[in-house]
């Protein structure tokens, strides 16, 4: 059984936000008006956070791409009254949009703030509508949504491997953010499979996880910047 996870090398991240754009386009994430975004209602499953370090003029910008951590011990799941958020056998934390009642308890329980609520129903212009990804369901008004590690791609990868009658390889299943990252900062794969790069990278001495002290056991690892 695979245990899907991600390693993000902060040394390589340039903050270009290509992962953010690729994610939005891949997962049919609805855009909101600037006023709504100003109110804190934009949806961004993958988000490049920026932190200014040091005092002017000796400052550096540190970027943290932040998807869902797909915790092994996810605080969001226990609090859901209807089991709309779940963790599957391969460690991917998902959301059943058709069951979610929109109480937003999971959003409050998640320390990483990665659960997003649909404050209004989604709206797309005619041109956007033609580019919607048919593999990903669009979310209705009033439910929570979140990063799925592009779960639909895993299903496709499995089908392809089965059709070719071979084992599935690391490159078969890559989420949109990892695929698009121009510097290769985002590495994705099976944490328990020694042939996958993440299995080795997660043993790197630079490795850390966000708010590890909370016991959530995230499956997204970061490699600290060297200097």
């Amino acid at each position: 059984m695979a245990r899907w996870g991600m390693v993000i090398d902060l040394d390589r991240c340039t903050g270009c936000a290509a992962c953010e754009v690729a994610c939005k386009s891949e997962n049919n994430i609805a855009t909101v008006s600037p006023e709504q975004a100003e109110m804190g209602r934009a949806i961004s499953w993958m988000r490049v956070m920026a932190e200014l370090e040091g005092d002017f003029p000796d400052t550096t910008m540190q970027f943290y791409p932040r998807p869902c951590m797909h915790c092994d011990n996810p605080p969001c799941i226990r609090v859901c009254p209807v089991g709309a958020t779940y963790i599957d056998d391969e460690g991917i934390v998902g959301q059943i949009y058709a069951r979610c009642i929109g109480c937003r308890y999971c959003a409050n329980a998640c320390p990483y703030m990665v659960k997003y609520f649909n404050w209004y129903g989604p709206e797309w212009s005619q041109s956007e509508r033609q580019h919607l990804n048919p593999d990903v369901s669009v979310r209705p008004n009033g439910v929570i949504e979140k990063c799925t590690f592009c779960h639909h791609r895993l299903q496709k990868a499995r089908e392809d491997a089965r059709a070719d009658q071979r084992e599935s390889r690391e490159e078969d299943y890559q989420p949109a953010c990892a695929e698009v990252c121009p510097t290769g900062a985002i590495v994705f794969g099976d944490l328990d499979n020694p042939s996958h790069r993440v299995a080795e990278l997660k043993e790197d001495p630079r490795v850390m996880r966000l708010m590890e002290e909370l016991g959530t056991q995230p499956k997204v690892y970061y490699l600290r910047p060297r200097e």
Partner: protein, 456 residues
Amino acid sequence: MREGVSEKLARMSTDEQVLLRPLVETSRSFYIVATLLAATTLWGVFAYYSQVRYGLGLTGLNRPEYWGIYIICFVFFIGISHAGTLISAILRVSKAEWRRSITRSAELITVLVIYWGAVQPIIDMGRPDRLLNVFLHAQLSSPLMWDIISIGLYFASCTIYLYVPMLPDLAIIRDSGIKAPRLYRFLAAGYRDTPDQRAKLERVIGVLSIIVIPIAVSVHTVIGWIFAMTLRPMWHSTIFGPYFVMGAIYSGIAAILVAMVVLRRAFGLQQYFKLVHFDYLGRLLLLFSLLWFYFTFAEYLTAFYGGEPGEMRAFWAKLTGPFAIPFWTMVLGCFVIPLALMSRRSTRTPRGTFIAGIAVMIGMWLERFNIVVPTSVNPRWEIESIGRYVPSWVELSIMAATFSGFILLYMIATKFIPIVSIWEIKEGREQSVQEVAERVAEYLPDSAMATVTEER
């Protein structure tokens, strides 16, 4: 009032005359107030309709402020509902004789306010159309499910606890024939006040008043746990269960006092809500203002002493930051004002308790605000913090409608139910004076029981 009704009323005892008069006589100001309240409530219904139609986007909620006015009102109204049940049950169990005239009005608050509290999380839901999912896909690991179970139980037991002690009064109204004979024949359920029925009634009330106490305690404990079970700064605290129960009883006592002052004036109940009642309940309010200070101090000191950065952001946001005004107003309303007024006998009057009661209710609403909002806008994940919350017209309208809807329902109830229990007053006059004398005599050395009986 119709001729026949006033004749019927004139034949009854003084207690019955005074306490049944509001059922058959309605003043003009009652209609004016009721119309205003109904209009406000309907406005709130319209606001909710808009919210259902367009989405929760019409509120001021956002990320990270996922919960706002609705959840604050949920905690507040369920808190108020602890008025009746707990106070009246505890007073009954402890055989406090002064309870007789206040239990009914208190229990009525409980039952009528609980709807308005329980409906808030449904208003807060993004998909109220999927409400039944909480039964179809119930996950017992979620504190929200614990809440549904305990509020359901609480609602059922409080309704029974209001209804059963009301039976003899309903029978009195039925037998007097002053109002809606069919309705009261149905409600009185064949109660004839025979000695056998009375004995059974008393036994059921005795059992109920013990059962409702742990249920009431569980309700607000679980509401506190909804917050405490998350890992969020200033929520993740073991004090929340007991803190919420204490706060609920506190706001409940305040609500009873305010209701008593209003009822006393509106229906001329000076003989039933006497100064001694305000004095005793005022002492109880004083006790709870001290308890409130103790719990709040313990909570904040623990957070402060640990000094964990995530906790400290929410902590300072409340004490000196953007939430300093709601925080210190809360301290004023929950501690300074009630302490100042209730620690002196001269201000433990209807007027003094009314002011203190209003102050405590405002303070307790703000306490829930200070729990929900500052933590929401100060999540542990610092660089993500946006931190703003301005409630929209929809949220404020629904809140106004909740308050007015509750008051309206309570007003209507006073037109159908005697607001002071007639039979309990009668029982007090006929039996309890003697019983209490005997009981006190029994406490004395050499069991003076015999002496008392001899003397009589």
